[in-house]
Symmetry: C2
Subunit: 204 residues, 2 copies
């Protein structure tokens, strides 16, 4: 396992609160982004700060957003400074005190400028990656985009140069005096389970 950093932490990717939970290793950042399904994308809109959920894909050291060219928000993202955050929740952390309740989680925060992807080959790689991100290998099990569908899709690249991960694991913090209280402490694991496919019944 390599431990190379995506980059030296910048002022804004340096984890300050609970700094021991901060991490800048490429493999950790990539693994969280690859496991997540939805990114929360923050940008400055006409109305002030906006945060919208979007599907995404990662290829090498770039994160990609996409949507239809008719999407007003996606046009606003072109060449905009964005903050893209992906969070996985792993457990509820139940302490004997209300104060020390917490959650185990893994999150990645990416700061960067979104750049419009104009190269058709890169666009095609991204659109394959988006469906493979949902289900591995799916891009080989569906019809690829037509040139019209490709034109109707806007793809934006956010480099992962300024990215950091934050991870909490383990049991709750407890005050020693609280351990005698008649309450339990521990973790309730949370798992995102994929059920069996529900066919749409449209195949002949």
């Amino acid at each position: 396992m390599t431990t190379d950093s995506i980059s030296a932490p910048s002022a804004r990717t340096t984890v300050r609160r609970k700094a021991d939970r901060g991490c800048y290793e490429r493999e950790v950042v990539h693994a969280i982004l690859d496991e997540g399904l939805v990114a929360h994308v923050g940008f400055t809109s006409d109305f002030g700060v906006a945060v919208l959920p979007m599907v995404y894909a990662r290829l090498d050291d770039d994160l990609y957003l996409h949507g239809t060219v008719g999407n007003h928000m996606l046009r606003a993202l072109d060449a905009a400074d964005v903050c893209v955050t992906v969070t996985l929740v792993d457990a509820l952390v139940l302490s004997r005190s209300a104060f020390h309740h917490s959650m185990n989680y893994r999150s990645v925060v990416v700061y960067g400028r979104a750049e419009l992807v104009t190269d058709d080959d890169e666009k095609d790689r991204v659109l394959r990656a988006v469906v493979d991100h949902m289900i591995a290998g799916r891009s080989e099990q569906c019809r690829p985009p037509t040139s019209e569908e490709r034109r109707a899709t806007r793809v934006l690249r956010v480099p992962l140069h300024e990215a950091s991960a934050k991870v909490r694991t383990g049991p709750p913090i407890e005050e020693v005096a609280d351990l005698a209280l008649p309450y339990f402490g521990g973790e309730v694991p949370l798992t995102l389970v994929r059920g069996a496919l529900v066919p749409d019944g449209l195949s002949p």
Copy 2:
């Protein structure tokens, strides 16, 4: 079931893209916020737009954020304009074409100004609501905050006056010509499952 709106949609809460998925009903907004565990909070930091994951609670028509008074970010949120987004993923939507892949989801976007809560009674209600949001009834099954712990906690209120929900359900969109292709289409349900408690083994 009442169908009253939290408020008339404002310019920024009016769902524009896929407007038929937009919803402003109080009960729908509340149900999504109550089921979610993590909010993604966007604000303008010293470094530009930032989006950070936070636990939260809802009481009536207010959403509450909280954290330690030592939290730099939470201080930045005081009296700041924020956008708070909560997203639940319900299914992967697999189409016979890459283009029509999608996800079923329920999301709420709240725009508002975060206000510092200074009233001790309101703070106590919020801190109970935060643990009850994780597990119903938990606030009665743990030690309440001491006055010192309460002082060490900063609570922020975001009114739900400008909130909208967006919901996608159902099978994939398909082009008629694609139905004859040898690919399947349908939904893969996603469920966040809570496992059995893993005790921390610290009780006597």
